[in-house]
């Protein structure tokens, strides 16, 4: 089962990275959203897979029943989902604002911080 997950995750990474390599900020944004899922699945799989038994201690017991899912990756991913969501929201607004201000979604056209043909600093002391 882990093997099938590995391949699925590989596809997710490939798709996400292909989109991020684009020059269009909207596509980069979609890629970032995919990348979050890819990473979460990676963490999930690395903690080993079990079917359908959530890591909840049954009533009357002190420890998980055998065969329960590994709780640690789930806790990590829970944090990661929330953070990647806020990252996504921020990027979305940034993309939108950049498009409004600069009138383009092409990263090559966004040269305010690093303009073309930047001059050398003045010689002298």
């Amino acid at each position: 089962m882990e093997a099938l997950f590995s391949i699925l995750i590989g596809l997710f990474f490939a798709g996400a990275i292909y989109l991020i390599l684009s020059k269009s900020t909207v596509r980069i944004l979609l890629g970032v959203a995919l990348l979050g899922n890819a990473v979460n699945l990676l963490l999930f799989t690395a903690g080993r897979l079990t079917r359908e038994v959530p890591p909840i201690i049954p009533v009357g017991m002190d420890v998980l029943s055998p065969g329960a899912a590994n709780p640690l990756p789930q806790a990590l991913i829970l944090t990661a989902i929330v953070i990647s969501f806020s990252f996504f929201a921020f990027l979305l607004v940034l993309t939108y604002r950049a498009y409004q201000e600069l009138g383009t979604d092409d990263t090559d056209e966004m040269r305010l911080a690093e303009p073309r043909n930047e001059q050398l600093p003045p010689m002298g002391y």
Binding site: M1, N37, N40, I57, Y99, Q100, E114, G124
Partner: protein
């Protein structure tokens, strides 16, 4: 000594820094009279160090200090022997006079407070340097002198020449300091000690170490840059851009001698090897001759003195390199004599400049009547510099010739260098001391008159000391020269030369020197013209090289920046992911760590297969989306498919969160996307698409292989067991995932919430900025 001596010494070492902090406030309160109060700091330190004189003269050493980081064997510790005590006395003694002199010289200058602060900070650094025992402390103070020197040279920072000179001094001496640091690390690694006082008896092991030469070269790089040895000499004359008190103090009496101090300090440990005996006299000799030749060329009083300082430093390095008892005695005498007469002459040059308005020797003359006290001080200092009998400089010169004069060709060569150098220095000394004062009166930019007492006190005290030290040579030798020479050679030496001339080769050489010097002085104008022509024919020197170095550095860094930061996001991202692919793919292939071929999972259920397929379809649909709606919907599809996969594999919490987040994402995306354009086609040309696709597939393959390989290995359940055991029993909750999030890793969750909050604020700011600008521009219209 009293029981509280370490605390007092510690206090004395920090007194200049305390005064430095107070200086701007005092100057604001008291104006130039603040110098009288501030001079107390070095004066008290001087008095404190004087109390050590009997003990040091008796051949003892004083160490003390406080542990700093004992686990690293680091301490703030000092070490007083004849060498460091002499330096400490010179620094604090001359420092006192310089502070007073600065009070008069900088009177009315708006930056006087800063100036006082800088010069006192420098004094603290220099004092710390010469008494440091620990290597680290020595290095820190060493660099601190470079930094304070930078501030002082660039004091008049509105002039480009001053800025250039300051930067140059910092680059040269700071760069040398880094070499010194490497050298000290070598010393520490070879000998295993981090204190100079412990180093003294480890010389044999050090000299036999295979790293000896590397260590020596690194230490020499530090010492030669600091002490302005050829070819690093060019920063010193440029440093004359600084106000004259700085030139008198840093660039003749103290800082430039730090390199010589270091060489003298290391002489017992690193000296007396072929490399030492060849390199030091060679570079010292070149510096001596180059310095005197360049000095003769100048007409600016300060520049003349600056080049003779360079020459004197060369002489000192040369003598230290010889390392014989006589040579060391000569170096000691000359070092002390030089500090006295050169400090005095610099202050005289400053006074003349201050009162007459120029320091060009060709535009000065006949000031003897207007400035009799300054003239007297200048004359006494020049007599000592010229090495005439009854003065300390004479003792030094006698000793130099006694040390150098021997039958072999090497000795003859270096004796010749010393005679020529000393003769030219004689000529320059009298040119500085006599030309502005004698002869017919020349009209100067300012109407010249004697300066206030603070301006002539320094030169008078220093030049009279140069005479007194020779007249009472017994006392001077007992407390200063002999202990210092003993410390440098690490054996008991009693200096006994007196100002009574005795016949012999040294006296004969002295006479030749004086005669040659008088000849040079008489024909100084011709000599100057000759030197100007000769040096012009040599072409540009290292000073021009520094300019080229700096401009080339700017160009090089510009080219490198353009190469690695072309300003295109695409290139940065591509580089990042190519590196990621290489990191993931190369090690498994290189080390044969590839996973086994995975088997098709037999137990795959239909619903699992279905959601896998939906996720992949959603993924492909996002990649191929041609309009906004498709993109949003397909992004939602893959997100919900992932949520269901979480649910199927025992993670309901994840699943619910993922559902919620995906829903929110889709809603927000839909809201924003209505205002954004999504070009129907990915506007990458085919070749670019293929390349990007290859990079992406390589990364994806890398992650697949990584995950396959890591899930092959047996699972380490250490952490899982921990949470499993303690969730119910300690944290009292049945939902282990929740316990981890809110309890075991609660701080982490707090961080996560903070991230969400910061993002929310940033989003709000981005939107509000727009609104604000609209309102603003609306008003404008």
């Amino acid at each position: 000594m009293a029981a509280n001596a370490p605390a007092l010494t510690f206090f004395a070492l920090f007194l200049p820094f305390v005064a430095s902090v107070l200086a701007p406030f005092l100057t604001r309160l008291m104006g130039d009279r603040a110098a009288l109060v501030l001079a107390l700091a070095p004066a008290l330190a001087f008095a404190h160090f004087c109390t050590f004189l009997p003990e040091i003269a008796a051949g003892e050493v004083v160490t003390g200090g406080y542990a700093w980081a004992p686990s690293f064997n680091l301490s703030f510790s000092w070490f007083l022997d004849g060498l460091s005590l002499t330096f400490a006395l010179l620094i604090t003694g001359i420092g006192t006079l310089i502070v007073l002199y600065s009070g008069g010289y900088m009177k009315g200058h708006e930056g006087q407070g800063h100036f006082m602060a800088f010069i006192l900070a420098f004094m603290g650094a220099m004092l710390g340097l010469v008494v440091s025992d620990s290597f680290l402390m020595l290095f820190v103070y060493w660099e601190l002198t470079s930094i304070t020197s930078f501030l002082l040279i660039g004091f008049d920072h509105e002039r480009e020449a001053a800025r250039r000179a300051a930067l140059q001094a910092l680059v040269v001496t700071g760069g040398g300091g880094l070499c010194l640091l490497a050298g000290l690390v070598f010393l520490w690694n070879i000998t295993g000690v981090t204190q100079l006082s412990l180093l003294v008896h480890l010389g044999d092991g050090l000299r036999q170490s295979p790293f000896y030469l590397a260590t020596l070269l690194l230490v020499l790089a530090g010492a030669f840059t600091k002490s302005a040895q050829f070819p690093f000499h060019f920063w010193l004359p440029n440093a004359m851009e600084a106000p004259t008190p700085v030139s008198a103090y840093l660039h003749s009496a103290t800082m430039v001698k730090a390199g010589v101090y270091l060489l003298m300090r290391l002489n017992p440990v690193m000296g007396d090897t072929p490399a030492w005996v060849i390199l030091l006299p060679f570079f010292g000799g070149i510096t001596l001759i180059a310095g005197t030749f360049l000095a003769v060329r100048q007409t600016d009083l300060k520049l003349m003195l600056a080049y003779t300082t360079m020459a004197s430093l060369g002489l000192l390095v040369m003598l230290t390199g010889f390392g014989s008892a006589h040579a060391v005695e000569a170096a000691v005498l000359y070092l002390v004599a030089h500090s006295l007469f050169k400090g005095a002459l610099f202050m005289v040059a400053g006074t003349v400049d201050h009162e007459a308005g120029t320091r060009d020797v060709t535009k000065l003359g006949g000031l003897r009547a207007a400035m009799p006290i300054t003239f007297g001080a200048a004359l006494l200092a020049a007599l000592s510099m010229g090495g005439l009998p009854l003065f300390f400089g004479f003792l030094a010169k006698e000793e130099i010739y006694a040390a150098l004069a021997a039958g072999n060709p090497r000795a003859v060569f270096f004796t010749g260098l010393a005679v020529i150098g000393n003769a030219l220095m004689f000529a320059v000394a009298f040119a500085v001391a006599l030309k502005p004062f004698l002869g017919p009166h020349v009209e100067t930019p300012k109407h010249a008159h004697e300066g206030p007492v603070t301006l002539w006190l320094g030169p008078v005290v220093l030049s009279v000391l140069g005479l007194a030290a020779a007249l009472f040579s017994g006392v001077a030798h007992r407390y200063i020269s002999s202990p210092m020479a003993s410390a440098i050679t690490d054996q008991k030496i009693a200096v006994d030369i007196s100002s009574v001339p005795h016949l012999g080769v040294p006296l004969l050489l002295s006479v030749i020197t004086v005669l040659l010097g008088m000849l040079a002085f008489w024909r100084l104008t011709d000599l100057r013209a000759f030197m100007v022509r000769a040096l012009e024919s040599l072409g540009p020197g290292p000073d021009r090289g520094f300019d080229l170095f700096v401009s080339d550095l700017v160009r090089l860094s510009g080219a490198v920046t353009r190469l690695v930061q072309p300003g295109r996001l695409e290139i940065y991202i591509t580089a990042t992911f190519i590196l990621l692919a290489v990191t993931l793919l190369v090690p498994p292939f290189l080390f044969g760590e590839l996973p086994a071929m995975p088997a098709w999972p037999e137990d795959l259920l239909v619903q699992e297969a279905a959601f896998f397929a939906i996720a992949v379809i959603g993924l492909i649909a996002v990649l191929r989306a041609k309009d906004r709606l498709t993109a949003i919907v397909s992004l939602g599809i893959q997100g919900f498919a992932v949520a269901v996969i979480f649910l199927l594999f025992g993670a309901p919490d994840l699943s619910f969160t993922q559902f919620m987040v995906e829903t929110l994402s889709v809603v927000i995306l839909a809201l924003v996307m209505t205002r954004l354009r999504l070009t129907p086609r990915d506007h990458r040309p085919l070749g670019q698409s293929l390349f990007d696709g290859m990079v992406a597939v390589a990364c994806g393959l890398g992650f697949t292989l990584l995950l396959l390989k890591s899930t092959e290995a047996p699972f380490d359940t250490l952490l899982t067991d921990f949470f499993n055991t303690y969730s119910k029993t300690v944290a009292h909750s049945a939902n282990v995932v929740n316990v981890i999030i809110v309890d075991f890793r609660g701080t982490d969750t707090l961080g996560e919430i903070a991230v969400v909050m910061v993002t929310g604020l940033a989003v709000l700011a981005l939107i509000r900025v727009r609104a604000g600008r609209r309102a603003g521009s609306g008003e404008g219209r």
